[in-house]
């Protein structure tokens, strides 16, 4: 894994140098803006320079030299901040694992995404630039997740993000608690759920051992097994586990299994995470948190608290937020950070939880999540403070390309909703069946 990260960093550094050295494309400079770089103090009267899809410079107006060829855009009264990163989304009309088994690591969510789903336009309208699209929580393991940039897309390939080895970036989705419980072969209890997961990882360890023993000899290699292959990536740490979990004891079970098998894990939702904040911090597990308007809806979310963000922040946990779209609407993602601030989270921490912390969780913080020279030009322009209900996302940029413009009536329709904003597609129901929850 470390080798992988180092390669990634080197690769980005090389690309960054290329961008600066090349400087072929036209530059654009937004000036007189309030800039929230996230990595760095807020700048009143700031300039952002973008060229070739990357941030060339950011800083106070009087400290940034605007290239002579740059197009100047007066952003007086505007706030510019990094594009928002959602670590847990279900948009795109997706379908992951089916009803045949409780663990289906061979299923890849990117094989199911409809890039023309109106959810993508709504996400851009909400200021999102990067997502982790995941299958649902009705399985112990419902498939591989995919990280995407919300570029203008013709096919799914236009959305994907690759590392320097050309590997598509994404994790794997797991869940415990009541959502994956069902009739056999699904688990009926929490004990059974953990036993199924442990057995499957033990199989994956054996599969990995056989490959190691083959030592490159094709004759000795085991039959290729897509399910085992994905789990080996998890065991090797090259594929992070994104784990749906609510109750405090379920959270501890995730940490226990993570320790036993050495897999890296991000804890998602964690309605009762505030009860075991110290344990989460001690385990070094990042958290992807959702706040919804009332507790309940199911027993394990009865103790959901607006204060989760504050308590985890105080405990030193890396916190990001997620929409869980359609649970909450991507257009209202800024609202989640504001509700956390309402309950005592720091303003800075809440803004980081919408941006750089999500990038860290998705291992994309070298290229997005903050406004720093050399990073991708993923940013949004707002007409006010990001935590105010009255503030609108005016424009969304991904790698320098504008993918949402509220001034364009076609785009505005997706921001406000209205006739034609929906595409009459079935929502993705992760765990909903005619009012019966599981």
């Amino acid at each position: 894994m470390h080798r992988f990260l180092i390669l990634l960093c080197l690769g980005l550094a090389a690309l960054g140098l290329d961008a600066t050295a090349g400087a072929d494309g036209p530059a654009r400079a937004w000036t007189n803006a309030r800039i929230l770089p996230i990595d760095g103090e807020a700048i009143d009267g700031g300039t952002l320079i973008v060229r070739d899809g990357r941030i060339e410079a950011v800083g106070p107006d009087d400290a940034v030299v605007i290239p002579a060829d740059a197009e100047r855009i007066d952003a007086t009264g505007r706030t510019i901040m990094p594009g928002l990163i959602c670590t847990h989304s279900h948009i795109g009309g997706i379908g992951g694992a089916d009803a045949s088994a409780p663990m289906q690591p061979d299923v890849r969510i990117h094989d199911s995404i409809n890039v023309r789903d109106s959810g993508f336009m709504r996400a851009r309208a909400g200021g999102l630039t990067c997502l982790n699209i995941m299958p649902g929580s009705g399985h112990l393991l419902s498939g591989q997740t995919v990280s995407v940039k919300l570029r203008a897309a013709h096919t799914i390939d236009d959305l994907l993000i690759h590392d320097v080895d050309g590997r598509m970036m994404g994790g794997i989705k797991m869940a415990n608690g009541t959502n994956p419980q069902d009739d056999p072969p699904f688990p009926g209890t929490r004990g059974k759920a953990a036993a199924i997961v442990r057995s499957e990882f033990i199989r994956a360890l054996a599969y990995r051992d056989r490959i190691a023993r083959a030592d490159g000899d094709a004759a000795k290699m085991p039959q290729r097994d897509l399910r085992m292959e994905a789990l080996v990536e998890v065991l090797d740490g090259t594929r992070v586990v994104h784990h749906h979990t609510h109750r405090h004891d379920d959270i501890m079970t995730v940490l226990r299994l993570s320790k036993e098998f050495g897999f890296r894990v991000v804890l998602h939702h964690i309605s009762e995470g505030w009860m075991v904040a110290e344990e989460i911090a001690a385990a070094g597990a990042p958290c992807s948190v959702i706040l919804v308007d009332s507790p309940g809806g199911k027993l394990e979310a009865m103790h959901l608290s607006y204060e989760t963000g504050r308590i985890l922040e105080d405990a030193g946990v890396l916190v990001a937020f997620h929409t869980d779209d359609w649970i909450t609407d991507s257009r209202l993602f800024l609202r989640m950070a504001a509700l956390a601030v309402r309950a005592g989270m720091s303003r800075d921490g809440a803004l980081r939880a919408l941006t750089i912390n999500g990038a860290r969780i998705l291992e994309l913080d070298d290229r997005t999540g903050s406004l720093v020279a050399g990073k991708d030009a993923d940013f949004i322009i707002l007409d006010g403070d990001p935590l105010s209900v009255y503030t609108k996302v005016l424009e969304t940029f991904v790698e320098g390309e504008r993918v949402f413009d509220r001034a364009d009536p076609d785009d505005r329709l997706y921001a406000t909703g209205g006739d034609g904003a929906g595409h009459d597609q079935d929502p993705y129901f992760c765990c909903y069946d005619e009012g019966n929850m599981r």
Binding site: S118, R122, V292, D293, S294, P295, G296, G297, K298, L299, A301, M302, W326, I327, D329, L332, R335, A338, L339, V341, R342, L387, S388, V389, Y390, T391, K392, T416, G417, G418, D419, G420, A421, G422, H423, D424, Q425, D426, P427, Y432, G435, M437
Partner: protein, 425 residues
């Protein structure tokens, strides 16, 4: 014969204590002072005072000219509003646990059950009642949920009280009707189509009209066993029928139909049926109402709009944040609701839903009206709640800033003059 001194003293003390208790109850007072008081019955008052005596508002005005009686407890806030009204939800009938034992909002035995009363299903101790109250909601129109053609009755209660009777404002507020595919049944059962839904609803209203007509007749003078049952000459006064009796109250104009309809064609059906039977209708949810503004206005029908943040999926895929503003500009009475949620969040909060409307075309006071005075007028309870005016119920919400801002807090709630919440939320 003669009473002892001790006896007399006991009686005297008892009487004094009783008198004091009565006096306390009768003259209980509380005052609320706000940097801004949005009365919703006039312009906002800067540095305003609301005095509540015996559960009702006894004075409202600028602090300079509205004396607070000595010794009265004074609550202070940056912003003061009337207690908020949720114009339609299911809180208290639907609980937070979302398991069978706390879900009484939908009964699936029959597609049409107007006889199901909300008052028989309301849990005053449901945690969601306290939850919404802590954000300033003091009155809720709650009951049977959308999801069956006629799912049952709704009622209006305060978010206080130990029993439903103590909470009660209106025991039968409306009969809930759903004209939407979500109330259709599969596997060959009716209703299975939009056409069938309208036919069944109309058929039931015609039955109820006949029932009302027969109630006016003298009792049947003899046993008509053996006669042709449909023979008009032999049909006298009918046996009491709870179902038709309820619909009869709709037909005679006493109770409206609360018709949940989102698609334009379903809204049109609601208006068509309202006209055919000359009944009162409250349009509920009404996601595509912006397509039928003229028709809704001509019908004189108010809209209890879906939550602003209602998911844009299914029949509400074309919902808009701007619909409240569109309807308001057209002169259509509009309130905003928390609605019915079958999963998480188990309820929404009208304060947050009106906030989104305030950010999408409504002014602050217009948005506040959708969850106070305008909601009260639509629900027919504006003589009691929805505004801060002398004689109205002493229901007040207190905030530490703009109530619609995400980062403001509700810091106090008063219902009928009693301080029911002081938590910071």
């Amino acid at each position: 014969m003669k009473r002892t001194t001790n006896d007399l003293r006991t009686v005297a003390l008892g009487a004094a204590a009783l008198a004091l208790a009565v006096a306390t109850a009768l003259h209980a007072q509380v005052a609320v002072r706000g940097d801004v008081v949005h009365t919703m019955s006039g312009a906002p008052i800067t540095d305003g005072v609301v005095v509540i005596t015996d559960g009702r508002i006894s004075a409202v005005g600028p602090a300079a000219t509205t004396p607070i009686p000595a010794g009265v407890r004074v609550l202070r806030a940056a912003v003061v509003t009337p207690g908020l009204i949720d114009a339609h939800g299911t809180v208290g009938v639907a609980g937070a646990l979302n398991s069978d034992h706390d879900q009484d909002q939908l009964e699936h035995a029959d597609p049409m059950q107007p006889e199901l009363r909300a008052i028989d299903a309301y849990n005053t101790r449901e945690m969601l009642v306290e939850w919404v109250r802590s954000f300033g909601v003091t009155t809720i129109h709650t009951g049977h949920a959308p999801g069956e053609l006629i799912s049952g009755q709704t009622m209006i209660v305060k978010t206080t009280g130990n029993t439903v009777d103590e909470a009660m404002l209106v025991p039968l507020a409306a009969v809930a009707v759903t004209l939407s595919p979500e109330a259709q049944r599969g596997e060959g059962k009716s209703p299975g189509t939009r056409g069938k839904m309208a036919a069944m609803l109309r058929g039931e209203l015609i039955k109820a009209r006949d029932y009302l007509a027969r109630l006016d007749r003298p009792d049947a003078d003899d046993d008509d066993a053996g006669d042709e049952p449909d023979d008009e000459r032999h049909r006298g006064r009918p046996d009491r029928d709870l179902r038709l009796e309820t619909l009869g109250r709709v037909l005679n104009g006493e109770v409206p139909l609360l018709v949940t309809a989102d698609r334009a064609q379903d809204i049109a059906s609601a208006l068509r049926i309202a006209a055919e039977f000359d009944i009162r209708v409250w349009l509920d949810s009404a996601a595509e109402s912006y397509l039928l503004v003229d028709e809704i206005k001509a019908a004189g029908v108010p809209v209890i709009l879906h939550p602003s943040m209602a998911r844009a999926v299914g029949v509400r895929e074309n919902q808009s944040f701007e619909t409240a503003a569109t309807l308001r500009r057209a002169g259509i009475p509009v309130a905003i609701q928390a609605g019915y949620e079958s999963y998480v969040p188990k309820t929404r909060i009208v304060l947050f839903e009106a906030a989104i409307a305030a950010a999408n075309g409504l002014t602050f006071e217009e948005a506040l009206a959708t969850i106070t005075i305008d909601a009260a007028r639509i629900l027919g309870i504006d003589d009691r709640v929805g505004a801060l005016a002398v004689g109205r119920d002493g229901d007040v919400a207190l905030y530490d800033g703009d109530p619609f801002e995400y980062t403001s807090h509700c810091i106090g709630v008063v219902i009928d003059g009693a301080v029911v919440s002081e938590m910071v939320r």
